[in-house]
């Protein structure tokens, strides 16, 4: 294995392929199940879907718990995907690291907002 410590330390990249490969599939499956749950609610609701029907989907505590888990899964999933994009197309180390940091900040901020909205219902 090549040297990866001291001044040769690689500071950007994956280095843990299997874990993130698996995490991306697990989080994807969770989000697909969530999509199915919301879709079934929408399909089997009676009449036109107004505010009460739509917001009502997210009222039960179990749905809040599921949606919360999905938001976290989404953040991890998007992090892996965007990190791969930066690694593939952005070569300069400083720029790549900046974009990766910006991605994390952006995703954590979005997750906070989404979670706040969830507990408003």
């Amino acid at each position: 294995m090549s040297v990866n410590f001291g001044s040769k330390r690689i500071v950007v990249g994956a280095h843990y392929g299997l874990r993130d490969w698996l995490a991306q599939r697990v989080t994807a499956t969770l989000m697909a199940l969530f999509t199915a749950v919301v879709l079934l609610h929408v399909i089997f609701s009676r009449g036109p879907i107004g505010y009460a029907t739509w917001a009502g989907i997210f009222v039960p505590q179990w749905m809040k718990a599921l949606t919360f888990a999905v938001i976290l899964a989404l953040v991890y999933h998007v992090w892996v995907g965007m990190r791969d994009i930066w690694m593939d197309y952005i070569k300069p180390l400083g720029l790549r690291l900046s974009l990766q940091v910006a991605t994390i900040v952006w995703l954590v901020a979005c997750a906070g907002w989404a979670i706040q909205v969830l507990w408003r219902v």
Binding site: R25, A28, T29, A32, T35, G50, Y51, W54, A55, F58, V78, G81, M82, I85, W106, L107, C110, W113, A114, V117, R120, V121
Partner: protein, 147 residues
Amino acid sequence: MSTPHPDSPPIRPEFRNIHALRDLPSYRLPPAGWVSILHRVSGALMFVFLPFIIWMFDTSISSEYSFARFNSAFNNGLWFLPAAVVKLVTLALIWAYLHHLIAGLRHVYMDVNHAVSKEFGRSSALFTLALSLTLTAVLGAKLFGLY
């Protein structure tokens, strides 16, 4: 560089880095290649529009008043954007979600079943493209009030 001797074999083309504008348009991708690159494009698209997606979640769910604002964005526009632009962005996001979901399920199915024959790769890729575009057309027609 000196000019090659007339009798020497012709200079073989060298392939180095891909130039996005000069080389990519001439590439002919198989269906699986299209599904692959569109999987990436759709993912990046949803990443960029994540605040808009959460804005839709926020306004549609917070209260009756915000729900009315949510509806209004699609009828009267949002901020300085006309309603048509809001609808087009939404349509792009609908396509992105459908393509990403179906292409992702294709990936997981292949991972679980080890079904990686060349023929299955091709047929499942065509299925992915056809289903995502059809569903986008159906939902898009609803979004633009065609039925």
